[in-house]
């Protein structure tokens, strides 16, 4: 049996796995990412990243789009996206489209 986790790189296209969803939490005034036994409170940037996981664009493409939109260095944005995506992947919250 293979214990190899699927590798995610800049060219990967991912989306939220079934059973993982974003919702508004009006009682606490925040946006949360819900998954089995977990609720993550996300800041605006994390929300933007999650919303960009459309199952069509690669992570590189998403970082480039953010760099243009927010007029920020692409390398730094790519690093932030990668860190957050890694955290979601370890928690089995992503589905790899390609």
């Amino acid at each position: 049996m293979s214990g190899d986790a699927p590798r995610i790189s800049g060219s990967s296209v991912v989306k939220l796995a079934r059973g993982v969803r974003l919702r508004e939490d009006p009682v606490r005034g925040q946006t949360v990412l819900l998954a089995p036994e977990s609720a993550m409170a996300l800041d605006d940037i994390a929300v933007a990243i999650v919303e960009a996981l459309d199952g069509k664009r690669s992570l590189e493409r998403i970082a480039a789009d953010f760099a243009e939109k927010f007029d920020a260095p692409v390398a730094r944005i790519a690093e932030d996206v990668e860190t957050f995506i890694h955290e979601l992947a370890v928690r089995r919250m992503l589905e790899i489209v390609e």
Binding site: G3, G19, V32, P36, E37, A39, F84
Partner: protein, 374 residues
């Protein structure tokens, strides 16, 4: 552009006393086809004719969503024993609740799982009593149970519902943890929960038969650590270690009245599953009182919130915000005082006696299993 990500527990941490609840466990029924010796439900079960009706449950779900509950766990007994399970699921999902079904699998068919998926069920948690038909059906006390579980897992995967396998480990199956993890992967589960038996409710009667040995506990902890590394990104492994063999108590329920609440089949609202074992407390019912009033104002929920109730040993301890003094029901059961320091804490004066008792129980050869009556 740093992202801050916190777990459910962290959200509650910065809010003053009595934050809104995150999670609700709805014990839809106490009926169950299995007879597990480690059942943590009370000795005295609620009868079917006392259960909340469909409309009453949906009303409770609505109040829970308004109160701030994000996760709803549909549990029991066996929740599939309720004929209105699909209807209840649909109602919960429509209220925005993240809906998780905790089931033995017995009572579910391919068609019913399809209906649950259509109703929007977010996640399903399937219990496992062992990794072979012989061992699983012996512990569950139900012939054919294992086979049904394997079929259920395949239907769940086919319907696309995320799956967690959930196993209680104890002296008889502690050596099967590796095999449980392998089985979880084979069944396409994303998560596995391996929880060491806790001696609440019926399980207390089987303490001598189920108490793991110290050696088993140490081996299990190593096995889990290795498997977590090996399967990172493939399978999330949640493990509840044996607290009788730990240095510090568990942060039971994430703190009393702080993160979650339980509703019994007949509508009593409890701060935790076993809270009714504390004789000094009385519990209110959603048939008479609103969920919000019970959560914020009832004596039972306020009894062990914050630090005022704590003995000096806990109040002066730097871990009081880590484990909140441990488990109140365990303090009741082992110290005879629900506001005592949890006796599994190494700082508790009762700890040494408890260690001796646990070691003696774990080497009791003659203990047979006492099955839960049906």
């Amino acid at each position: 552009m740093r992202t801050s990500v916190t777990s459910a527990g962290d959200i509650a941490r910065d809010i003053p006393r009595a934050p809104p609840p995150m999670a609700m466990l709805a014990e839809l029924t106490h009926r169950c086809p299995l007879a597990c010796p480690y059942c943590s439900n009370p000795i005295e079960l609620t009868r079917a004719n006392e259960e909340l009706s469909t409309e009453e449950w949906i009303g409770v779900f609505r109040q829970a969503a308004d109160l701030g509950v994000l996760h709803l766990h549909l549990s029991g007994g066996e929740p599939a024993s309720r004929r209105d399970l699909v209807e209840l699921t649909r109602a919960a999902v429509s209220l925005g609740l993240y809906t998780n079904l905790i089931t033995s699998g017995v009572g579910l068919t391919g068609a019913r799982i399809g209906s649950l998926a259509d109703a929007g069920l977010d996640h399903l948690q399937l219990s496992l009593q062992g990794v072979s038909p012989e061992s699983a059906d012996r512990i569950g006390g139900y012939q054919g149970g294992y086979e049904r579980k394997m079929a259920v897992a395949a239907w769940v995967a086919g319907a696309g519902i995320p799956l967690t396998l959930n196993a209680v480990c104890h002296r008889e199956n502690m050596g099967e943890i590796d095999a449980m993890i392998e089985l979880a992967i084979r069944l396409k589960a994303r998560r596995v929960e391996i929880a060491t038996v806790q001696f609440h409710g019926w399980a207390e009667r089987n303490k001598a038969a189920l108490m793991p040995t110290r050696e088993q506990v140490e081996r299990a902890t190593r096995t889990v650590a290795e498997a977590r590394e090996k399967y990172q990104g493939v399978l999330v492994i949640d493990y509840v270690p044996a607290d009788y063999h730990s240095r510090y108590p568990k942060a039971c329920m994430g703190g009393w009245g702080r993160v979650g609440l339980n509703v019994t089949p007949s509508g009593r609202v409890l701060p935790c599953h076993a809270a009714e074992t504390i004789p000094s407390l009385s519990f209110e019912n959603v048939r008479e009182t609103s969920l919000a009033a019970i959560w914020y104002d009832s004596d039972a929920f306020n009894a062990y919130r914050g630090e005022d109730w704590m003995p000096e040993l806990c109040r002066s301890c730097e871990r009081k915000k880590v484990d909140f003094g441990g488990c109140r029901c365990q303090a009741m059961a082992l110290a005879g005082d629900a506001s005592a320091t949890d006796p599994v804490c190494i700082r508790s004066p009762l700890r040494e006696r408890l260690t001796r008792e646990a070691d003696a129980l774990s080497t009791t050869q003659s203990a047979g299993l006492i099955y839960r009556g049906r």
